[in-house]
Amino acid sequence: MSDDKDLIDSAKAGDKVAFGKLIRKYEKTIYSFAFKICRDKEKAEEAMQETFVNAYRGLKSFSGNSKFSTWLYRIVTNNCLMMHRKRSHEPVVSLEDTELFSETGELQVPHWGETPHDAVLNKELKEILDKAIEKLPLEYRIVFVMRDVEGLSTEEVGKTLRLSVPAIKSRLHRARLFLRNELNPYLTK
């Protein structure tokens, strides 16, 4: 963090070498996050580049009250949202009626088989995961990725998205249930 502070101060003074060091430090994180939101390598790269360009241009407004990474997450999120709104005509999916159990009175929840525990997921499974998360509205997807995949705390996600903790929790719960239900037909034993 103190390393960041020195680099940020130098970059604010116009030192592009220092800013280059910040790019190298955070580019993998930002790309990975952008990919998980956009689900497309080219779009993720575009979002990442825009993020660093915007960050440099707005560096003077970075007060240092939050982590630099939190600030970058906010910028990349905005870029992903803007790109999505420009290009997308997706139908609105309602998460209101994400039913948890059937109303038949009896619960019968099928068991899922073993899932791969390492990072090697097969192509078919990746496609299933892509399809499910692409159906999830972006506002929910962002919260799910930040909190559950990237491991930010609920408070950090709230700060980044400028939303209250209850609002984050509500979106997160709906996203988790929605994704679980979408994957259910494929992963039932």
Partner: protein, 94 residues
């Protein structure tokens, strides 16, 4: 147990899916999961959903540093170097 009770637990499952259930605040949920196979299956599938997405990562091997810095070079204000204007001397009246 009524369906609404299971639903109540489901909300709690969703809240606590990424926590350690051995903590005292999770006691009731832990007890319920131990005796309800359907809720246990549901809880397990929620955990696996998160795990699958966490494991699905892409590696970025390149670096965008040069391209970004090149784009930022264009931000520099352009300084036009104009030739100095010299006053032409008027011929003196005689």
């Amino acid at each position: 147990m009524r369906l609404t009770d299971h639903k109540k637990y489901l909300l709690e499952m969703c809240e606590k899916v990424d926590r350690d259930l051995t903590s005292p605040t999770c006691k009731k949920l832990r007890e319920h999961l131990a005796k309800c196979p359907d809720c246990a299956a549901y809880y397990d599938s929620l955990k696996k959903t998160i795990l699958l997405y966490r494991n699905y990562d892409v590696e970025y091997r390149g670096s965008c540093c040069e391209e970004v810095l090149a784009r930022l070079e264009l931000d520099r204000p352009i300084q036009l170097v104009l030739p100095k204007r010299t006053r032409s001397k008027r011929p003196r009246r005689s």
